[in-house]
């Protein structure tokens, strides 16, 4: 007699795995944190300098913060530091959600995770960029008023607000959803998606049981 395996509830499996994958995500983030600090600073600096004349901005990753240095400022000027942890911690959320799906280490899943992580990295770069531009546009007294119009200050203020709060919180979820809709639909209870994602290689039972 063949044993019947009880049907696995994908939603329950996903929710049960989530606390463990959260821990795994935190461990991975702790390991890659120094690399992320440098990577986020480097691309942000490149983008800022690409649209800057003269090219004076340097972002230096020190103690998990980005020191904003300008070569045209007085040496006695204070140096602003933007905390990098707040900017790139959200990769933990993306990792936790992705690893909690079924077969997370399959080639297709890993490719999607890599693509989602790459896009998330770009959003982190933009977040830091808007922080720095907002600092330039509003927090440097008379220099800010001389070099940035009111429209520029409003624009960078809005971008900083959006990328900082709602962006930071929602980007991992949106990317996870966008790259894994087929699996997420199954977890959400979509009957059509459940039927289309039945594992191949198993024979469907037809007619009488043996």
């Amino acid at each position: 007699m063949t044993k019947k395996n009880p049907p696995v509830d994908p939603c329950r499996s996903f929710l049960r795995r989530l606390p463990l994958t959260l821990l795994a995500g935190m461990l991975v983030w702790l390991m890659v944190r120094p690399v992320l600090d440098v990577a986020v600073c480097a691309l942000t600096e490149t983008l800022i300098r690409a649209f800057e004349y003269p090219r004076v901005t340097r972002l230096v990753a020190i103690n998990h913060g980005a020191e904003v240095r300008r070569s045209d400022f007085h040496t006695a000027s204070g140096v602003h530091t933007q905390a990098l942890t707040e900017i790139h911690f959200n990769i933990i959320v993306l990792l936790a959600l992705s690893l909690a799906l079924s077969r997370p280490f399959g080639r297709k899943r890993l490719e999607r995770l890599f693509m989602a992580a790459s896009l998330l990295y770009l959003t982190q770069v933009l977040t830091l960029l808007f922080h720095v531009k907002y600092l330039y546009a509003t927090a440097l007294g008379e220099w800010s008023f001389q070099n940035y119009s009111r429209l520029a200050r409003e624009f960078f203020g809005f971008c900083r607000y959006f990328s900082d709060l709602p962006g930071r919180f929602s980007f991992p979820f949106l990317l996870w959803l966008g790259f894994n809709w087929d699996q997420v639909a199954v977890i959400l209870g979509n009957q059509a998606s459940r039927e289309s994602t039945k594992p191949s290689g198993k024979r469907a039972r037809k007619g009488k049981q043996r």
């Binding site: 929710l15 942890t85 933990i92 959320v93 607000y161 709060l165 966008g178 209870g189």
Partner: protein
């Protein structure tokens, strides 16, 4: 691929609706008028509720606006009041295809659940500040922000699966 074709795909339709509702929600919350008359008073209520719970634990707490002072001082800003997670959750509920009744259950139940989790966050961070102040920043930024986002996603997944998923049609009998 035009918008009409994109709209016919359920995943694209959900994402478009979700992003639209989210953008409107955040746009409204960002308005100065709304911030002064809704967000700040709401945050003060969260502070009062947190203070009440801390007093149950025997803490002497003084509340001043959004600031809680006792053995440790905590200020609750926008981003720590559960509002952002609530907006993301509500956008997910409204954008997902479901009956009005299911959406109402999700809206009310989800908001209450998120606020309860947020209160636990504030209380735990207070005590981390008292007993393990070195770990306060990491707990606040890394651990609890990740937990609250995942809690919001989990609640949405649970709601969609339990309340919004269409009931499965009865299997036809015969031939077995």
């Amino acid at each position: 691929m035009n918008l009409k074709t994109l709209w016919q795909r359920p995943d694209a339709r959900f994402l478009i609706l979700f992003l639209t509702i989210l953008a409107i929600g955040f746009g409204v919350v960002a308005l100065k008028w709304v911030n002064e008359r809704v967000v700040d008073p709401y945050t003060e209520v969260v502070a009062q509720m947190s203070a009440g719970l801390l007093r149950l634990f025997g803490e002497e707490i003084v509340v001043s606006g959004c600031n809680l002072s006792g053995r440790f001082s905590v200020t609750i800003y926008n981003g720590c009041n559960g509002l952002i997670t609530s907006l993301i959750f509500v956008s997910g509920v409204l954008a997902f295809p479901a009956s009005l009744r299911a959406k109402l259950i999700g809206f009310l139940g989800g908001l209450v659940a998120i606020q309860l989790i947020n209160l636990v966050r504030i209380i735990s961070l207070f005590f981390i500040g008292v007993y393990f102040p070195k770990f306060f920043n990491q707990s606040h930024v890394v651990i609890w922000q990740s937990v609250i986002i995942l809690a919001g996603v989990s609640l949405w997944v649970l709601w969609a699966n339990r309340f919004a998923a269409p009931s499965q049609p009865a299997k036809a009998e015969g031939g077995q």
